[in-house]
């Protein structure tokens, strides 16, 4: 996928950072909406036990939150293509990944009402920094 996306252009401009923030925001909205949809549906194993595999897939694909999240993720992919024409992959890749992990944790706390305790904040910070270091 990275090979598909590689485009090289000047980096660090206001436009580049706007694009990076937009991509990260779409990823956060997409993942939170998908998580909200799955939270609403409940354990898929329980649904499968009652409705079978086909019924489970239908339940997921007809969930408005899930579909909205999936559409945001699709939009995120195409926005990423545009972002990579404005910023170098070496900047955009780790920046988007780190911002997405932190944004997901904040959104999960306030929108999904997850209990994000000290342990999970530390995990989020470690993941964001870890991904940044791995991408260097």
């Amino acid at each position: 996928m990275k090979t598909l996306l590689v485009q090289f252009a000047p980096t660090g401009s206001l436009q580049a950072w706007t694009a990076i923030l937009l991509v990260a925001a779409l990823a956060v909205v997409g993942e939170v909406m998908i998580a909200a949809g799955m939270q609403q549906l409940g354990d898929l194993d329980d649904i499968r036990a009652v409705k079978g595999l086909g019924g489970t897939i239908a339940a997921v694909l007809t969930n408005v939150r899930f579909v909205t999240g999936a559409l945001c993720m699709a939009l995120n992919f195409f926005t990423m293509l545009a972002a990579l024409s404005l910023a170098n992959l070496s900047l955009a890749g780790p920046a988007i990944a780190a911002l997405t992990y932190i944004g997901n944790a904040v959104a999960a706390k306030f929108f999904l009402r997850e209990r994000v305790d000290k342990r999970r904040w530390m995990a989020t910070a470690f993941v964001a920094l870890g991904v940044f270091l791995l991408s260097r």
């Binding site: 996928m1 898929l44 999960a108 994000v116 999970r120």
Partner: protein
């Protein structure tokens, strides 16, 4: 808060880690064979669908999305996130021990941080319970 995961749920988390990392690697290898794609050569994307690595990568990434969706039905997003990030560690270790690539100190540090992050959340509960919502559901006869 639920704490213990069933063996099948651990299997789903492992599937998330492996399908994402191996799927991305297969896509990268396939696209390297297809060649660079830009807006003037979008036809190459159709050509890419006939590359076996690209096809395997797509199958694995569909498996990733199914596993990820399933995990989110019984675990918090902030619990599943580090599991998805562990895929980066798998890719780096595959590069080091399978492809014999050199890993810089910063990459080893990144691996260490993500492993620590997975350890932090693995020791905690997987799901935040919302008793008031459960009561409302029960009251609504669900």
């Amino acid at each position: 808060m639920k704490h213990a995961l069933k063996p099948s749920q651990y299997a789903i988390l492992i599937a998330i880690m492996l399908t994402a990392s191996v799927g991305d690697s297969l896509l990268a290898r396939g696209m390297a064979q297809v060649g660079p794609v830009d807006v003037h050569h979008l036809g190459l994307l159709w050509h890419a669908l006939f590359n076996v690595y690209v096809d395997l990568g797509i199958v694995l990434l569909i498996g990733f999305f199914a596993s990820y969706t399933t995990a989110l039905s019984w675990a918090d997003l902030t619990f599943v996130m580090p599991a998805t990030a562990f895929g980066y560690v798998v890719i780096a270790l595959l590069g080091r021990y399978w492809l014999h690539e050199q890993l810089s100190w910063s990459r080893w540090a990144g691996i260490g941080l993500i492993v620590c992050a997975v350890g932090f959340v693995a020791g905690g509960p997987s799901r935040t319970e919302h008793p008031e919502l459960d009561q409302m559901d029960a009251g609504a006869g669900r």
